[in-house]
Amino acid sequence: MSHQADKGMQAAVEAIYRAESRRVLATLIRLLGDFERAEEALQDAFAAALSQWPRDGLPANPRAWLVSTGRFKAIDRMRRRVRHDELVREDAPIPQAEPDPADAIVDLAVEDDRLRLIFTCCHPALAPEARLALTLREVCGLTTEEVASAFLSRPATIAQRIVRAKRKIRDAAIPYEVPDRSQLPERLDAVLRVIYLVFNEGYSASSGDELLRTDLSTEAIRLGCLLHELLPDPEVKGLLALMLLQESRRHARTDAGGELVRLEDQDRSLWDRERIREGEVLVTEALRTRRFGPYSIQAAIAAVHAGAPSTEDTDWQEIVGLYDILMRMQPSPVVALNRAVALAMRDGPKAGLAEIDAILSRGDLRAYHLAHAARADLCERLGRNDDARNAFRKAMTLTEQGPEQRFLAGRLKRLED
């Protein structure tokens, strides 16, 4: 084969790696019953592809070829290990390495395997940080270094977290399966929480100067699409819609200097109409099922904003109504705060301020910078400038994000001039 053709084949293998490696891994984990062994087998299979495909040509079904070869290689490794082991007992089963006819129907089970992988990586018996790291590593195929840089953490820390999680999966026998109907809602909730955490980590970094970390948001949306393809549950639709609608504002959310721009000040022509349309379709589908939950309601709120030409022309009546539903589903101080801000838009700053003061007096949000920032904003609108300044100062002491800090400082300075 010519050098040119070799290069072409290498590019083909790389493309297949990008498109298929996570699927092949997910199936190998099921067949081999072990994450580490499956990863070894995946690497072996692609190494074999690089040496054999240029000679023999591309197989008819590369994915099935890779699964079958990976499995064969893994069993071969196990046999060699067994042979080297002097303590091996007479009755120890020697794994068989004959090609399995079942591999031919591998395509049928492969989507189930991806779903198994997602549910296993997001198992509630694993530590929350481990679920995030494991999902990004195993389901999305990010390298340990990429996961570490996304979370501003050291690669060694992430690697250790992943190793410990895999060890627990193996030693505590966390099953590689999609939970049955009785456990599905609770377990799906854990999966959705992981995806939304990844998204939020990308959307607004919890510390540091980089307000938006595109890669993680994109990964989260990709995960949401994958999950939606495999399990089109109403809340999966709701979460995907919510992420798409928030993401649609990415380019309007910061100015040329990287500074934060509030929703009411954003240039709405910068909103990504394609994403908004996708989000609207999904949220409509979710609401139509009547089995929707909090993610769908939050998406519906985002959709009302997305469809409004300006802050003034936003249907605040509808938004307050949606927050009322959300409060019944998932009562939390943060939801109450957002409802109060919407109420201020519908009924005026005085009504909103009364709500926020009531929430703050209950104590839950006293250390939450956005509660004080919202309070400051309403005080300013009411002409209570002293109260507004104090509240802006309070908010500034409670956030570490650079852009948030500068935004609050700017508001404060305007009041002091």
Binding site: A125, D171, A172, A173, I174, P175, E177, P179, Q183
Partner: protein, 114 residues
């Protein structure tokens, strides 16, 4: 797989909270898992102030009054179960009556390397 479910709770409150189980309920639950063939052993323990901690150092046995560690919640009992995987073990643990007022630690049993 074998798992042990270690039941911990604040002894002072174990029997006095609105959700506290009585012995009859605990007995009934243990009977139920016996019938399903998944229970290998289960016992409730006497109060922690009846405990004696034993150590052997250089061949000498020493004893101290009380539990190994002073903690807010104390070991109150255990269930040794046979389960297909962690999900099934968690399912059994979640229905142990004192889980409503205390906590249940689910740990896989390690095969001794012999």
């Amino acid at each position: 797989m074998k798992y042990i479910c270690l039941v911990y709770s604040d002894e002072a409150q174990l029997h006095s909270l609105p959700d506290s189980p009585d012995d009859k309920e605990c007995w009934a639950y243990a009977e139920k898992i016996v019938e399903s063939g998944k229970l290998l052993a289960a016992e409730a323990l006497e109060r922690v102030d009846t405990a004696t901690t034993v150590r052997v150092r250089g061949g000498d046995v020493s004893m101290t009054d009380g539990p190994f560690a002073e903690t807010k919640e104390q070991l109150a009992g255990f269930y040794l179960v046979e389960a297909r995987d962690l999900n099934e073990a968690i399912g059994i643990a979640a229905k142990i009556p004192p889980a409503r007022v205390g906590s249940v630690e689910v740990r896989p049993v390690r095969q001794l390397d012999v």
